[in-house]
């Protein structure tokens, strides 16, 4: 079996070029999906029988919360690949993830609060999901802080990779403990859209949003990844050809 293709796949110039080709596809597809989802979510979907038009915050809250959690998963997996198999590209991906993840964690908190005010009558309730999301934000901030603490890129990569993996193992434990804590203290939990069957005209915009946000993240990640590759491969000769 010829493994040349595999090594080419992992080589920085190849990834740099592929990322450049893929970015516009992801970006345009994401834009299209998000616009269609916006129209169908804000105009076509019927108001909720309990929450009226207020439930439409779901269409930005749920995708942001999804991105916040998913990006941490991508970051930790990439960091593990970088640490265990010594693939530099893994570290580059992990480094590109953290900032975007932290941004969307904040967005999910803000939109959750704005949803909470009309539903709970207050901006903040120690709801298990909001609380777990808040802790996730601190995990991101710790990761970014640790990276910023090192001058040497290679050490920053590996130290932050260990932290990302430790955090990743801890996230289910944190989520479980927060759920457990909440079930004892009996706070209201309106934000669960745990209705047996969401009608299709409410569900479809949500699914489109989730897919659109995911593709958007892929596009942003690829642009950031290209920047990271250029920073890391500064002395490589292929950069001359690429920048011509």
């Amino acid at each position: 079996m010829n493994w040349a293709w595999f090594h080419r796949l992992g080589s920085p110039p190849h990834i740099y070029r592929i990322a450049g080709t893929l970015t516009p596809w992801f970006a345009w597809l994401a834009g299209l999906l998000i616009i269609v989802a916006l129209y169908s979510g804000l105009v076509l979907a019927p108001p909720d029988y309990q929450q009226g038009d207020g439930f439409r915050i779901l269409y930005v809250h749920a995708p942001s919360a999804w991105l916040a959690v998913m990006i941490y998963g991508v970051m930790a997996s990439a960091a593990a690949i970088g640490l265990i198999w010594r693939m530099k590209i893994g570290h580059a991906v992990a480094a590109s993830c953290a900032g975007v993840g932290a941004w969307f964690t904040v967005v999910s908190l803000v939109t959750g609060m704005l949803w909470g005010k009309p539903m709970w009558g207050t901006y903040w309730v120690w709801d298990p999901r909001l609380t777990a999301q808040l802790i996730l934000l601190f995990l991101y901030l710790g990761y970014l802080g640790l990276r910023a603490g090192f001058d040497d890129l290679s050490r920053a990569d590996r130290a932050s990779a260990v932290l990302a993996i430790v955090g990743f193992i801890n996230i289910p434990v944190i989520r479980y403990s927060v759920e457990w804590w909440n079930s004892i203290h009996q706070a209201p939990s309106v934000m669960k859209m745990a209705r047996p069957s969401m009608p299709i005209d409410m569900l479809a915009p949500l699914l489109m949003m989730l897919l659109g946000f995911t593709l958007y993240f892929a596009a942003v990640l690829l642009v950031r990844l290209r920047a990271e590759i250029l920073r890391r491969e500064r002395t490589a000769s292929w950069i001359r050809e690429v920048l011509r």
Binding site: L83, I135, L146, F150, V162
Partner: protein, 229 residues
Amino acid sequence: MSAQRTSTMTAVWLVLQRDLRLATRRPAQLIQPLAFFAVVTLLFPLGYTPELSKLRAVAPGVLWVGALLASMLALESLFREDAGDGTLEQFVVSGQPLVALMGAKTAAHWLLTGLPLTLMAPVLAIALGVSVAAMPGILLSLAIGTVSLSLLGAVGAGLTLGVRRGGVLLALLTLPLAVPVLIFGAKATELAIAGESLTGPLYLLGALAVLGVTLAPIAAAAAVRIGLE
């Protein structure tokens, strides 16, 4: 190189002994976290209310947050001096598994901070209006919980080894990871104060400690290797 290889068990025992002996030579480092724990706890009656019935209601949270911050305070010195004088490098090249030596250092840290903090908690609990009947539960939950705190702290201290002035960063890294310990520990203490059975949260605290004992030394060893370069 000596002809006879030291067994890992002996090495672990020697590292533990060394850390304990070093600590007795510098009692100030032992006492400071305890004094910090006491000051933080005793600020609450002054800042909140001297009414014992109200203090009793917040006692679990106050005790656990105080213990958490106090054990955090002692973490910075866990590896810093040993990194400065080359001891950690000797650990790495000694041929002994670094994971085991990290376990020994963490155990020493628990004996020097976690255990004293646990033993001091009942005194502070009395000042918060907790009855003597709750003391066994408080002692037990803190004894188990501080094991996890020492283990998490060792990972954090290892990671910030290569960072200049990493004290605040160390707290920022470690505190979010300590949330489950805080939740289960405070709940166990609350149940102890209410005079109810606290086996549920105690089992969960024990599970966290077991998870920590198996995984944290590996992460700490990896972190120290990176930090020493």
